[in-house]
Symmetry: C2
Subunit: 240 residues, 2 copies
Amino acid sequence: MSIPKKLKERYTWFKQHSAHEENSSLAFEIISEDKRGLISEISTKIYNLGSDILFFQSWSEYDGKCHTVIQVDNKSNFDAILKSIQEIPEIISVEITSTSKKTWGKRIIIIGGGAQVSSVASGAITEADRHNIRGETISVDTIAVIGEDEISNTIDAVGKLHRVGILVLAGSLMGGKITKSVKNLRSVHGIPVIALNMAGSVTKVCDLVVSDPVEAGVMAVMLISNIGAFNLLKVHGDKY
Amino acid sequence: MSIPKKLKERYTWFKQHSAHEENSSLAFEIISEDKRGLISEISTKIYNLGSDILFFQSWSEYDGKCHTVIQVDNKSNFDAILKSIQEIPEIISVEITSTSKKTWGKRIIIIGGGAQVSSVASGAITEADRHNIRGETISVDTIAVIGEDEISNTIDAVGKLHRVGILVLAGSLMGGKITKSVKNLRSVHGIPVIALNMAGSVTKVCDLVVSDPVEAGVMAVMLISNIGAFNLLKVHGDKY
């Protein structure tokens, strides 16, 4: 099986960089009233100050307040941005904090059913701990999902997450729509996929098949960490 | 120990609702060239069409492309928004997809060191699987971190995440700056905290102390799921 061009490029870039290397380490954390048009107002102010926004997240909270996190490039005039945001009447507080990439780093996503998800997670978390002690930052995010449609939709949603390094599928049977979603995630989003050695067509379209769930989790970390020589492009298509 | 007002309100709201109840189930997924000012342009267009943005996330990818996910309220004219976004020359693709809240649901965050993080995660993932089968959507996100400053900074960063239901601290010794960060997360962000029964001052400021790591993970799920009667406000301050 061939490796999609985008996967090869994105993986090589992802593997080479430590998660906390980036051109900005500061973010603005804003709490405000939930006024319609506020995202437009804040982002236009930052644009007018000549800054490049690297990350922007904003959402409504349960109490009608709006939370916003904005990361701008290092050449930005942080004081001027801070001042200009504070001038907006609906702003309750603005703080300058470290970025989410620096804190949570590269992400491993684990999707599948009960016992196997826990085992894969256990391997990945223990191995991530060892890499993080040595200077990487790798977090492990899991969701237990059942059903072909549900798993397929969840895999599609992985392409909408930021900082994802690799996906591990933890189950005993996956195929049909799931296989289509894996193909799409790999070719359109360039995200590599490990599968347990399971029934169904999904193992035929994954980058690596691993029989032991703990080992699958450990390998996921080794593959995206910039520490160590294990490289997906060298073991691609292997079964363990 | 008293329960901060914000925690009581936010927890009650969080507990009562299933993760996929919300006033919009659709989001726009946009891939574009990474032009400065694009966030301002897109959000202004949506504002001018009279829509309320419930969630907005945008970031730069490795290849110089920009990824944007936008959730608007159900009353919005989805076709008009789609058309108006497509008119921007830098847009490569726009798709209408389901929301991240519907897919990933309520989040449990686990922070701490190696073996204990894995054990807490194992309990939480296995229990989340059981609740998700019954109609909830709960995901479990973990990071292994070492050091007082690092753990403290990571706890501060939990307040910047969206959809967080509860934080579990998995370690054998936590105090000092970590204790301050827990106090702040609870009172300012209203996010409850479970700690393992560990050394250090942190257990004195948490909502629940649980000795067994697997049980701590299981309880985290039970506390935020809208299935079942286990309620933080009834067991608050207990040690298990």
